[in-house]
Symmetry: C2
Subunit: 183 residues, 2 copies
Amino acid sequence: MSLFMAHITTSVEYAIHGLLWLVDNDKPLSSRDIADLQVISPSFLAKIFPKLQKAGIVVASDGVRGGYRLARSADTISFLDIVDAIEGDKPLFDCQEVRSHCAAFGGPAPGWAVEGTCAVHAVMQQAEKAMRQALAAHTLADVATRFGRKAPKQFFADVQGWIEQRIDTRTARVGRRSNEPPP
Amino acid sequence: MSLFMAHITTSVEYAIHGLLWLVDNDKPLSSRDIADLQVISPSFLAKIFPKLQKAGIVVASDGVRGGYRLARSADTISFLDIVDAIEGDKPLFDCQEVRSHCAAFGGPAPGWAVEGTCAVHAVMQQAEKAMRQALAAHTLADVATRFGRKAPKQFFADVQGWIEQRIDTRTARVGRRSNEPPP
């Protein structure tokens, strides 16, 4: 009977952390590259990136040097865009129209009881709007900047080194195997 | 792998609709009375009211005329109080500390990477705070007033009639059976 609303899930969390590796990065990364860099489940992330692509947040390119890149500037990609891309704009609250049944009606609900939005639902909609506004007010660029202030320069060099080595390994394999296009 | 956050659930919805019958009502109602009046599952509602009692939103009295009443004025019972009573103050977002693992660390996470709150988590906390503020800004009394403006006077008389008949039936049964204390 209890209806659980999925809201801000681990999928969203992994999407955001995954996307952060694409900010200020000119080298396309496959979802496998990102999963290995972040040390998270590759199969889980492989299901997330197609949703981000469908929502116009990332673009994918094929080929041995292909992978995902941000589709637009990181300061135009809000947390709300990512939540909606992953969760499909599910409401916070799934109104069951409880107001439509009452023993004191003595029959079907009268018109006055069900016209307009249920007052309980209206409060939930306001709460959801407040939450969505807060999510819309923060972008990938904001968080990347905040992270960039904390991380030492050496870390970014280490990440670039890891990415270059990964691409080199992938390129070297091509001689031996057929072209496996990322993502 | 996907972690679903229960947030504003049907339990909350039923709790609010159930509580609305106790606003401006001096006759205690059992959770069974409320379920029958609203035509919702009695066993489901029977699990909800003890949580509202534990949170100090309702008080219960025993005996054939016993049942639940609001523990305090309806204008001091916010939607947030009810959500927290039912959901136990679960966070909107359950941070998995994804930032603590990265292949480029070359080992355990360095101090700078995990100090303070994760920037992703911080955005989610702001979104949650905005949602909670909106829920805190609305009380049972607000919604009861809004409903009272829509409903005809006859409806409230019908509800009082239904409740009185229910209490009469319960009282009449006492002669035959042992005292079954609501709730």
